[in-house]
């Protein structure tokens, strides 16, 4: 029998990235990654930098995100992500450059360095590279 599906919407400031019926969605909550299946109770979770994956008829697709929020309502699941990219769309060269740049900044430690920001940049770049590897 076909697995039951629910409506999933992934929206970024620039576009509606995904809108379809899926069987499950996994998201990087700030307290750990979790998976949402059908008939989940209303739920609101913060997401951090990491991997969102969704499953539909045994195919999984992956998204690299820098965080956002996930909302489960009776009518479906909505993800609002400030930045998100499909694994297959990630520009590996650019991500690698970004990682190298962030690493360099962190090792050189210029006096006005915003350490938190540089670390976040490094984390994002590494995340994108890791997810790009899964496509």
């Amino acid at each position: 029998m076909l697995e039951k599906r629910f409506k999933l919407e992934i929206v970024t400031p620039g576009r509606v990235m995904y809108e379809d019926e899926v069987e499950s969605v996994r998201a990087p909550g700030v307290q750990g990654s979790f998976e949402v299946l059908i008939e989940h109770i209303p739920f609101l979770a913060l997401l951090e930098t990491g991997e969102v994956s969704l499953r539909k008829s045994d195919t999984r697709r992956f998204i690299a995100t820098s965080g956002g929020v996930l909302e489960v309502l009776r009518t479906g699941v909505t993800l609002l992500l400030e930045a998100a990219e499909w694994a297959e769309d990630i520009d590996v060269d650019r991500a690698e450059q970004a990682r190298a740049r962030a690493r360099q900044r962190l090792s050189e430690r210029p006096p006005n360095l915003d350490v938190e920001r540089a670390e976040a940049a490094l984390k994002r770049a590494s995340n994108r590279l890791r997810i790009a590897g899964q496509r």
Binding site: P13, A45, T78, L80
Partner: protein, 288 residues
């Protein structure tokens, strides 16, 4: 009376100008369509985020947050959003006028003003007049991205939470339609709390992490998206203003050319008349 050759030369030069303004009109039109598409594309995110925040606020009693904190304004931050380029009618001058009026007004009341400039034109104006510019964001309208909005709000909320300023106002052009753009002032910080959206069917969520932690992060997301909307709006307004300005310039050039052509014809007619007169009078002299 200019000579025939001078008039011809002027016609050519005005025609060249018309070609240029026409081309600029086309470019602005293309950019305008893109800017409009960007506004439309940003709408679903904004609506969903607002709805979500509305739900959450309806579940909170008395939300508190540094960014909601209303203080008596003693130091104020004005963010003045204009364009990087000129030739767009009154787009920049309206923003500049409103901004400088506000600064003068606040300073009269003894309120310190911190100035953030967005757009090269605005920055240049205030830099030239020795205003204190605390931050400037220049040259990003060419490739506007959400990251720019993020960078700005990060600095603004840091300054606000740090109590360096007590209010943040944004002076910007509001995009109403392709024909009208008006300068408006919006308060960015403190965030004006939204009315809770109570819908009877809505049941409370499960939260992860705590409710208030989520609320804090959502306020940041909200601020980012507000700034993003402002930037997109201003960008569309700029292109619309440039379209109108260039369209007017092309029309004026057309009128000027018509007038010059009339002058040219008259001058040519005069030349011909004089020549005929000379021939006729020459012949008359020979006969006599």
């Amino acid at each position: 009376m200019p000579t025939l050759r001078e008039i011809r030369r002027r016609i050519t030069s005005v025609e060249n100008i018309q070609q240029v303004t026409n081309a600029m009109y086309m470019v602005a039109a293309a950019k305008f369509r893109k800017a409009q598409a960007n506004i439309l594309a940003a709408r679903p995110y904004a609506e969903k985020l607002d709805a979500l925040l509305g739900h959450l606020v309806s579940q909170l009693n008395n939300p508190t947050h540094p960014l909601l904190d209303v203080r008596e304004p003693q130091r104020l931050c004005i963010v003045s959003i204009g364009a990087d380029r000129g030739l767009c009618g009154t787009f920049n001058s309206n923003v500049i006028r409103e901004t400088s009026q506000r600064i003068a007004q606040y300073e009269e009341q003894g309120i310190d003003v911190t100035l953030f400039c967005v757009g090269r034109r605005v920055r240049d104006f205030f830099a030239k007049r020795q205003y204190n510019i605390d931050r400037e964001y220049v040259g990003f309208f060419r490739e506007l991205s959400f990251q720019h909005a993020l960078d700005m709000t990060q600095e603004l909320s840091a300054v606000y939470a740090d109590k360096q300023v007590d209010r943040v106002e944004v002076v910007h052009n509001n995009f109403k339609s392709a024909i009208t753009q008006t300068v408006v002032v919006s308060q960015l910080l403190p965030i004006i709390p939204r009315a809770p959206v109570g819908d009877a069917l809505f049941l409370d969520y499960l939260y992860e992490p705590q409710q208030n932690e989520i609320f804090e992060s959502l306020l940041e997301l909200h601020l980012n998206r507000q700034m993003w909307t402002l930037l997109l709006d201003s960008d569309a307004a700029e292109q619309a203003a440039r379209m109108t300005a260039m369209d007017n310039a092309s029309k004026n050039a057309g009128e000027l050319i018509d007038e010059l052509i009339r002058q040219r014809n008259r001058a040519r007619q005069t030349v011909i008349t004089t020549e005929i007169l000379e021939i006729v009078s020459g012949a008359a002299a020979l006969e006599g």
